[in-house]
Symmetry: C2
C-alpha cells in the first residue's frame, strides 16, 4: 500500500491539487479478482452467493446496482463473528470482574447472585435468571467513567484465556467472517456490528480484529452522565439500562444509529431474526446470511435447543426469505485464524 500511494497521489495532484480522493465507488470485475478473496471458504453455494451479490450490487448500470452510500452491511457479533460458546465472552468478563472486586465487597459473600459467582455455584446462578444477570452486569459495567471501563476491558482481553481453545478471546474471531468483512469493505461497504452485547465492551477491540471502527459498533448500552471531576469533563457509567440491542431492538437500533436500511445482514440466532427481516425481506439487491453452527469438532454444533445462541425461528424463515445459511462444517475451510488450513473431521 505504502509503495503505490505516492504515485497515485502525484497523479491526482496534477489535476486536483489539494483534493483528497474517494475511490471506493467502483465495481470490481471478476477479471480483477486475481486472488481468491475468500480463501477460508470452501467452494459451494454459500461462497458463490456472497460473491455474486457483491458483483451484482457494485456493477454500475446493472439492475441491482446500489450506490456507494447505500452499501451498508450489518453483522451480529457473538456466534456470527466470534465464538459464543460455552458462554458469551462478556459474561465471563462479568464473572471475572466480580471475583476481582470481591475483596472490596465483603457483603457479596452472603448476597446472591454474587455468592453464587464467588462459590462457582452455576445452579444457583441459573436459578437467579435474568434479574441475577442484570445485577452482575450493573455491578461490573457501571460506577466508573467510560475511559476507566475501556481500560478494564482491554486489560481483561489481553489476559483472559478461553477454556476450550486456550487462546485469547479475540483469537476466536472466525477467519472466514473476517475475510467476508474485508471483502465487503473492499467493495465500498460500510460494515457495522449490531450486537446484543455491550457497545463499550466491543469498541476497544473491533477495529483491530474486524476493521470496524468504534462509530460503526451498535450494541446494548447503559445510561451515561456527563459531569466535571476536578475541572475535567468525564462521562460516568450509570447503573441504568439505556438500550437493549437485541431481537426487535436490532432494527430499531439500526434506524437510531445509521438512519438507513442496510442491504446486507449476517446473524446466527433468533436474536437476529428481526434484523434479517428488516434488511432482507426477500428478493432484490439485498442479502441475508445465517451462520449455522454445525461443526462440533472444530467449533460447536448447536441450533434449535441451545441455551446460548438458539437458532430456531430464524432457521425456518431463512428458507422462506431466501437467506443464505452457511453450514460451518461444510462451507468453511478454516474456522479460526490460528487453526490454519485444518479442516473438520468430515472432510
Amino acid at each position: 500500500m505504502k509503495r503505490i500511494l505516492p504515485i497515485v497521489w502525484i497523479t491526482a495532484q496534477l489535476v486536483l491539487p489539494g483534493t483528497p480522493l474517494r475511490l471506493y465507488d467502483v465495481s470490481l470485475s471478476r477479471a480483477q479478482e486475481v486472488r481468491d478473496p475468500l480463501p477460508s471458504w470452501n467452494e459451494g453455494a454459500a461462497k458463490r452467493a456472497v460473491i455474486d451479490f457483491a458483483h451484482r450490487v457494485t456493477k454500475e448500470g446493472g439492475a441491482d446496482f446500489v450506490p456507494f452510500a447505500e452499501r451498508i452491511a450489518v453483522f451480529d457479533n457473538d456466534g456470527t463473528l466470534w465464538s459464543e460458546q460455552p458462554v458469551y465472552a462478556q459474561f465471563v468478563f462479568a464473572l471475572d470482574r466480580i471475583k476481582a472486586l470481591a475483596s472490596e465487597h465483603p457483603e457479596w459473600k452472603e448476597k446472591q447472585p454474587f455468592k453464587a459467582v464467588l462459590e462457582g455455584d452455576t445452579k444457583a446462578l441459573i436459578a437467579g435468571g435474568e434479574p441475577a444477570i442484570a445485577q452482575l452486569v450493573t455491578a461490573t459495567h457501571a460506577g466508573m467513567t467510560t475511559e476507566e471501563f475501556k481500560g478494564i476491558v482491554k486489560k481483561w482481553l489481553a489476559a483472559a484465556i478461553h477454556p476450550r481453545f486456550k487462546r485469547l478471546y479475540t483469537d476466536l474471531a472466525y477467519q472466514p467472517m473476517r475475510e467476508l468483512l474485508a471483502y465487503l469493505q473492499a467493495h465500498g461497504f460500510k460494515t457495522y456490528i449490531v450486537s446484543g452485547g455491550g457497545v463499550e465492551f466491543m469498541r476497544p477491540w473491533t477495529e483491530q480484529v474486524y476493521g470496524i471502527p468504534p462509530e460503526q459498533v451498535i450494541g446494548s448500552s447503559g445510561k451515561l452522565n456527563y459531569e466535571m471531576r476536578d475541572g475535567e469533563p468525564i462521562l460516568f457509567k450509570l447503573p441504568e439500562v439505556d438500550f437493549v440491542d437485541d431481537k426487535a431492538g436490532k432494527p430499531a437500533g439500526i434506524q437510531k444509529f445509521i438512519g438507513r436500511r442496510p442491504i446486507f445482514a449476517a446473524g446466527n440466532s433468533d436474536g437476529d431474526l428481526e434484523m434479517l427481516q428488516w434488511t432482507a425481506p426477500g428478493g432484490g439487491s439485498r442479502f441475508g446470511l445465517i451462520v449455522h453452527h454445525t461443526d462440533a469438532v472444530r467449533e460447536w454444533a448447536y441450533d434449535r435447543k441451545s441455551l446460548v445462541g438458539r437458532l430456531d425461528a430464524a432457521l425456518d424463515e431463512a428458507e422462506k426469505r431466501g437467506w443464505t445459511v452457511v453450514d460451518m462444517k461444510r462451507d468453511w475451510k478454516t474456522v479460526f485464524p490460528f487453526s490454519g488450513g485444518k479442516t473438520s473431521n468430515r472432510e
Copy 2:
C-alpha cells in the same frame, strides 16, 4: 473529478488490482492550497485559527498530528449551520403540521395547545411552556412509520418559506459553515451533526445541504417499534421520548453514537456548552468554535438574553478555554449562499 478517476484508477490497478484505496490520510501543505478554501470568510483571527488547526493536526510528524481515524468534528445545527430565528424550523414544521392535520382532529378546536396554534394565539402557546411543546411534537412526530415521516419532512421542506428571507429553509444554511465542513472533510475529518433537533427531521436533507450522511447525524429522538404490517416490516414512531440530545446530553450522545472524543466542535448557544467542554477542554490539538450572532442586518444579532439560541455561559467560557468566537458581522464575507458577496452595512 470524473476526468481524473480513470487515470488514478489505472495507476492503482497496476500495483494493487482490485483493491480500493483510501487516500484521505494525507496532510495538505499550504503550497497545495492554491485556491482560498474559505472564500466566504474575511481574513482575520477566526479564519486563521481554523486553517492553522487543520494544518497542525494533519501535519505528519508534527506535535499536534492526529491520525485520520481520530479526526472527528461535531457541529450543532440550529444557529450554527443554519438560521434558527425567529424560531427553529422544526417548530414551524410542527405548527404547520398541526394546521394540516386539524380537519382530522375536530377536538383540537377546543383543546390546548392545539387551539392556540390554530388561532395563532402566541401568548397562550408560550403560556403552555414545555409541556405544550411536547404535546405538539408528539402529535406531529409520532404515530406513523419512519418512512412516512421522512416523506412528510421532505414535502414540507420543498414548500415552506422562511418569513423574513422568503426562501426555502434549506437555503438558510450558512455559506461559510458549508465551506468549513467541506474544508475539514477534505482534510480527512468525519463531520457529524450533534443537535438538539429531531434526528429524523434532519436526516432527509443533511447530505444534500452539508455533505453529512444520515449515519453522521445525532439528534433527539423518539422510541421506535418494530412490527409487521401486511407481512412487511416497518418501524413505527411511538409518542415517547427516547433521547434528548441537548446540553449534557450532547457529550453523552457523542459517546453513544461515535464512541470516541471529537477533536473539533462548533456551536452557538449554551446548549452546546457541554459538547464544547468535552471536545475542547483546553490546549493541544483540539478546537472549539462558537458562532456569535452579531449581524442584525444580514441575519440576526442575539446572545445573552435571547429566548431562542441563548449564548451566555458558553460565551464566558470561550475565553477561559481558548475557543474561537466567530463574529458573524466581522468574520463572514457572505452569510447565505443566495446573498453572494453582499456584505453587512458596517463594511
